[in-house]
Structures are given as structure tokens and as C-alpha cells.
């Protein structure tokens, strides 16, 4: 963990709360979407982020790129504070961190030609003249496996996988140091998904960008990640290498996630199903947020916060699993 290399991304104790509409006669309440997250991503590293729906993955990514409001905590990009910059000073720095969104349909303006969609960030950033920009667009299109002539077409003329390539091209055109891929392959069918995952691997090898890779598909996250973080109700509960986190899970929630993976080879299996629901992020419980669903919970778990501890393999649990019982 005491890596001498400066991380591309350092997140410290990040908190995001969304205010709720006030009910008459009641104090204002908040959705506690991200509750004190700290993590680092090294240059060239891909950190996979998994966790249940609503646990705060997208909000974390959006807060990192300042698309969601940061309530407290710090974000450093290549060592520079980023959480407290006003929009005016943020804009010229934004290229460093780019997002790829889940939905290749709604994230592209249907009335803009592809070339313009990809050129737009360059125009906003006042990069190069028209000819230079168009040369860049052509180059990026080729990098993502499209044809330079595709610049003249509109989004509806492309398949879902091709549109996701366009989304990636748009994210890459500013040569970011950090890519945040939020369910970037989830909407794609397997063969296209495989193409995009291979493409991301190739681009990563070539450009050495770092990546925060969010997916609910643990098989995909395992495929691409150097390390994996598991999130539950706004907090990281386990963090480490894929081997540590998936094969030697220490947090009972991670174990439940791993066991829930649908597998071709496990025919007609009834998965071990994690019962219950995550608690409401409006009223996060005291103690470990997983306690109410956890088979290992003791009294202490309901009262005392479980803090993320450990060196390379970190876990936030009072009674972590020790050895894989097989």
C-alpha cells in the first residue's frame, strides 16, 4: 500500500448527501449516497467497483468528476486538489478525467454527426484548429475500431456496440489520465461486450490511462481489474486484488456477491440468495450497515462502526471470514 508512485486518483473520506424535499414540520433529511470513501488508483491501474444497486457507485464516480455535489472529503487528481475548485478553474482541468456512460443510446445527441460529437470536447477545450481537430477525430475513430468516414454519420446509423465505441472515442479524444466507466458494457450483448472489453484492454496498454470500472457483473470486473473494491450502502467494505477479494473473500457481503454470480457451468442451480434489502440510505443504521442481513453478525456489529483495515487486502468487518471453507 505504501506505493511510492503518486496515485492518479486519491479519494479521501468522500461524502455525498442529496437533500430530500422537506416534509412539513420535519427537519430536512438526506440520502447518504457516499459515506466516507477513501481509495487510490495508481497510474495505469484499473480498479473495479462492484456493489448492489443503489449502493452509491455511480454517485461516487460522478462526484469524482464533479458531476455530483461533494458534501465533504477530498479528491486529488495526480496529486492536485480537485474537490474544492470552482467550475471556472475546473473546466480547463476536466479533460484529465472522463466518463463513459452505460447507455450508448441516450448519451449521444441524436442530431449531431459523430465527428462533431467527438470533436466537441476539443472545441470546448479550445484545442487545435479545425484541421487538427478533425485529424484527431479520425485517429480516435480508428483507435476504437470505427472508420474515419463514420464521422459524417448520425448516432442512429450505428449499432449499440458501435455507439459504445463512439462514447469511448469521445472520452478518449482528450487523452484523459483517468477513465471512469460506469456500467459501460452492461447494455451490450456478450459478443459485443467481449469486443469492447478487448478494446479497452488494448487502449489501456497503449495509452496507460487509469480506470475506475463500475459494473454489476462480477465476471466482467474480474476480467479487467487489477484491484477490486466492494461497496455497500455508501462505503467500501472490501478492497484488494481479484484473487483476495473474489477467491478469498473476507467480508460476508462479498462472499454473498460471489455466490450470486450466474454461471453457465452451474446449470439449473438455485443460487444462494442473499435475503433482505440494503437499509435505507436516508437513515443509515449504526454499526455495520450489512449487519441486518449478515449470517455472522453479533451484537457489536449493530452498534460499532466497522472500519476498513488491512494492508493490501482491506476489509471492514468485525468478524471477517478467515479461510475459505471450500
Amino acid at each position: 500500500m505504501n506505493d511510492p508512485v503518486q496515485p492518479i486518483l486519491a479519494v479521501r473520506n468522500l461524502t455525498v448527501q442529496f437533500p430530500l424535499r422537506r416534509r412539513p414540520g420535519q427537519p430536512r433529511r438526506h440520502v447518504h449516497a457516499v459515506r466516507g470513501v477513501s481509495l487510490d488508483i495508481a497510474p495505469g491501474e484499473t480498479l473495479g467497483l462492484i456493489g448492489e444497486s443503489g449502493c452509491g457507485k455511480s454517485t461516487l464516480a460522478r462526484a469524482i468528476v464533479r458531476l455530483a455535489p461533494i458534501t465533504s472529503g477530498e479528491v486529488y487528481l495526480a496529486g492536485n486538489p480537485w474537490h474544492n475548485l470552482p467550475e471556472r478553474r475546473l473546466r480547463p482541468l476536466r479533460p484529465a478525467a472522463q466518463m463513459i456512460f452505460q447507455d450508448p443510446w441516450s448519451s449521444l445527441n441524436p442530431r449531431m454527426r459523430i465527428g462533431r460529437i467527438i470533436e466537441e470536447p476539443l472545441i470546448v477545450q479550445k484545442r487545435g484548429d479545425r484541421d487538427e481537430r478533425q485529424a484527431t477525430v479520425a485517429r480516435v475513430l480508428e483507435q476504437v475500431g470505427l472508420h474515419p468516414d463514420d464521422a459524417g454519420k448520425y448516432p442512429h446509423q450505428f449499432s449499440g456496440g458501435q455507439r459504445q465505441r463512439i462514447g469511448i472515442a469521445r472520452a478518449l479524444v482528450l487523452e484523459p489520465q483517468l477513465l471512469l466507466a460506469d456500467e459501460a458494457v452492461s447494455a451490450l450483448d456478450v459478443s459485443v461486450q467481449a469486443q469492447i472489453l478487448n478494446l479497452l484492454a488494448d487502449l489501456r496498454a497503449e495509452h496507460r490511462f487509469s480506470m475506475l470500472f463500475i459494473s454489476h457483473d462480477l465476471r466482467v470486473v474480474e476480467q479487467v481489474s487489477d484491484r477490486i473494491a466492494v461497496m455497500y450502502l455508501g462505503k467500501i467494505v472490501e478492497l484488494g486484488s481479484p484473487e483476495d477479494v473474489l477467491d478469498h473473500s473476507r467480508h460476508p457481503y462479498t462472499r454473498a456477491l460471489v455466490e450470486a454470480v450466474p454461471e453457465i457451468d452451474a446449470r439449473g442451480r438455485r443460487r444462494v440468495i442473499l435475503g433482505g434489502e440494503p437499509p435505507s440510505p436516508i437513515n443509515p443504521p449504526r454499526g455495520c450497515a450489512f449487519a441486518g442481513r449478515c449470517p455472522r453478525a453479533q451484537d457489536r456489529c449493530h452498534t460499532e462502526d466497522a472500519v476498513l483495515t488491512g494492508d493490501d487486502h482491506q476489509v471492514a468487518c468485525h468478524y471477517p471470514l478467515t479461510e475459505d471453507p471450500g
Binding site: 444497486s53 456500467e183 450483448d189
Partner: protein, 327 residues
């Protein structure tokens, strides 16, 4: 008798130019209480088939004179919109691929949930409210009475999908058409929802057409599987037939490109090329330009042939594909 039966079904999207034959001669049947999975690459026509089975696409005899579509023995291509409205949501429930297009973001969940019961005259308001709360509890939503007051835009993806399922099944349909209902969900919620659908199937003998691109989910859920490519069915059979002895090179490609556990950092297999757009489909086997086993014999139109009882494949060289599979 099959509950739903399509034969040579053709459905078209009318466009300004040439109409798009999204469903181009599909044979598919679903028996009472059976779970059938439909898989295939993006754009191959899965959603279009689902829409056809809900009477939401121009299919009729104008599209293709030999096309047939029967529900519960009735020729539904003859149905008018009024008849469809009586069936849709009551006998056939549907979960659409994109929840936000079918859930109205600015109408309360409760109102949207009670609507099918009220429209079909299955309950009065008090009763509908009670059933709405029950339906939300059944899909695992905590504090269901409070959920009634909320708006879809306030919910996370998983919650929205549960609400969708609650709406689609509130009238206890005989057939549920679920178009990628768990694609956007994480595995624990997916596992719960698949279990929920399996329970609904068991308790009410509900049949299901389940569209997904996750072959892991298919492995867990399906009684039978249909593989679709470029508007046609290219393989069908029981789960074991299709997954263990795939006869079509495309089915094999899909199975091989699936990410699996313990394949860290390994390059995934990809099927070369892309699906031909509807207006550029080859006249012979539609998969031929991407197929490793294609030869001159594949340049003629290929019909579905039986490999074994209940196992059909649209390929002239299923043996080539299979000998490769065994290696």
C-alpha cells in the same frame, strides 16, 4: 397445445425508406407454464418479436401471407386494438427493456400499479390499493405502502425494475414477456428477481418468454432456449441440447465469448464482424460472412433442420461446428 405459437412470423418496422423486417420468419412456441429464453446479438430482433407477441408491431398477413401467431389457440393476427387492450396487461404481462420508457416518471408508483387492475375491472380502488401493496411486498420492496407515494425517477435501477415486475404481474398473467429485465441489475438483486419470477411461475403456472444476453442467467432459468440471428431463429432446443451440444456456429461463438469466472486478464473470444443490417442480409446463410466453417453450400438459403427430437438448427454443417466444440 402451445400457449403462444409463432410460425413463419414476419414483423416490420415501417420506415420512411424500405420497411425493416425485424422479425423475418420466426418459428417459436411456448407451452403453458414453460420458461423459454430468447438470446441473440443486439439488433437481431428479440425486442421486435416481444412487441409482436404483445400486438404492438405491424405483423399481420400484410407483412407475410404465411405468418401465423396464436395465443391460447386464437389467431391473434385477426385481433383489433380493442381486443388487444383487453388481453395486454391481463393475460400477457410485459416487462420492457428500458424501464424508464414504460414507467411514467411523473406519475406516482401507486397509481401506475393500480391502473391495470382498474382498467381491466379486476378490482375497485380500495382493493386495488391493497393488491398494489401486496405486489410491491412480493417483489421485495421494503415499506411497500410508502413506495406507493413515490415517483419512478426517485428510485434506483433495481427498485424501478421491481416496480416494473410488480406492475407486469399484478393481474397474474398467463404469459409474462420479460425483455432483459435484469440486465441493469447487480447479481444479488438479479438472483432475487429470478427467484421471484420462478416463484410466480410455480405458484400461478405462469409461462415466460425471457429475453437476455446473459447465458449464465439462461443456464439457470430456461426450460428451452431459442437463439436468434438477423431476424431468424438459428437454433432451438432444451437447455442441455443448446448449451452442451450447440449445433450452430453462432451459438458456439456466443457461448465462447461469455466472460466466466477465473479468466482474469485473458482475452475474450469475439465473433468476427458484425450483424448485417436488415437491408444487407446475405441471401444464403445469414451468418456465413462471420462463420469459420462457411463454404459454397452455405450460399443457398438454409432452413431449420432437426438434429434431435426438439433440437433444431439452421446450418448446413452442424457437424463441423460440433467436432470443433469437442476439442
Amino acid at each position: 397445445m402451445a400457449l403462444l405459437e409463432a410460425e413463419q412470423l414476419v414483423s416490420v418496422f415501417p420506415t420512411q425508406g424500405e420497411p425493416v423486417r425485424a422479425v423475418d420468419g420466426v418459428d417459436l412456441h411456448i407451452d403453458e407454464g414453460e420458461t423459454v429464453c430468447l438470446v441473440g446479438e443486439s439488433g437481431c430482433g428479440k425486442s421486435a418479436f416481444a412487441l409482436s407477441a404483445m400486438g404492438l408491431m405491424p405483423s399481420g398477413r400484410d407483412a407475410h401471407p404465411n405468418g401465423r401467431l396464436h395465443f391460447d389457440g386464437e389467431d391473434v393476427l385477426k385481433w383489433d386494438e380493442q381486443r388487444w387492450c383487453a388481453i395486454r396487461g391481463r393475460d400477457i404481462g410485459m416487462i420492457f427493456q428500458e424501464p424508464m420508457t414504460s414507467l411514467n416518471p411523473v406519475i406516482r408508483v401507486g397509481t401506475q400499479l393500480m391502473e391495470p387492475l382498474l382498467i381491466h375491472g379486476l378490482a375497485n380502488r380500495t382493493d386495488a390499493r391493497r393488491q398494489a401493496i401486496e405486489a410491491l411486498a412480493r417483489v421485495g420492496i421494503p415499506q411497500p405502502d410508502r413506495m406507493l407515494e413515490r415517483y419512478p425517477h426517485e428510485l434506483s435501477g433495481g427498485m424501478r425494475q421491481r416496480v416494473m415486475i410488480a406492475i407486469a404481474t399484478i393481474c397474474r398473467p398467463r404469459l409474462l414477456i420479460a425483455d432483459e429485465p435484469t440486465t441493469a441489475l447487480d447479481v444479488t438483486v438479479e438472483a432475487q428477481i429470478l427467484e421471484l419470477l420462478a416463484d410466480l411461475k410455480q405458484q400461478h403456472g405462469m409461462a415466460m418468454l425471457f429475453i437476455t444476453h446473459d447465458l449464465g442467467v439462461v443456464a439457470e432459468l430456461a426450460d428451452r432456449v431459442y437463439v436468434m440471428y438477423a431476424g431468424q431463429i438459428v437454433e432451438s432446443g432444451t437447455l442441455a441440447q443448446v448449451f452442451d451440444q450447440p449445433g450452430h456456429p453462432y451459438t458456439q461463438g456466443l457461448l465462447r465469448s461469455m466472460p466466466r469466472r477465473h479468466q482474469r486478464g485473458r482475452r475474450l473470444y469475439t465473433i468476427p464482424g458484425t450483424v448485417p443490417p436488415p437491408h444487407q442480409r446475405p441471401s444464403g446463410c445469414r451468418f456465413a460472412p462471420r462463420c469459420p466453417y462457411a463454404d459454397a453450400a452455405c450460399e443457398q438459403p438454409v432452413t431449420l433442420r432437426d438434429l434431435a427430437a426438439g433440437h433444431t438448427v439452421r446450418c448446413v454443417h452442424p457437424d463441423r461446428a460440433r467436432s470443433q466444440q469437442d476439442e
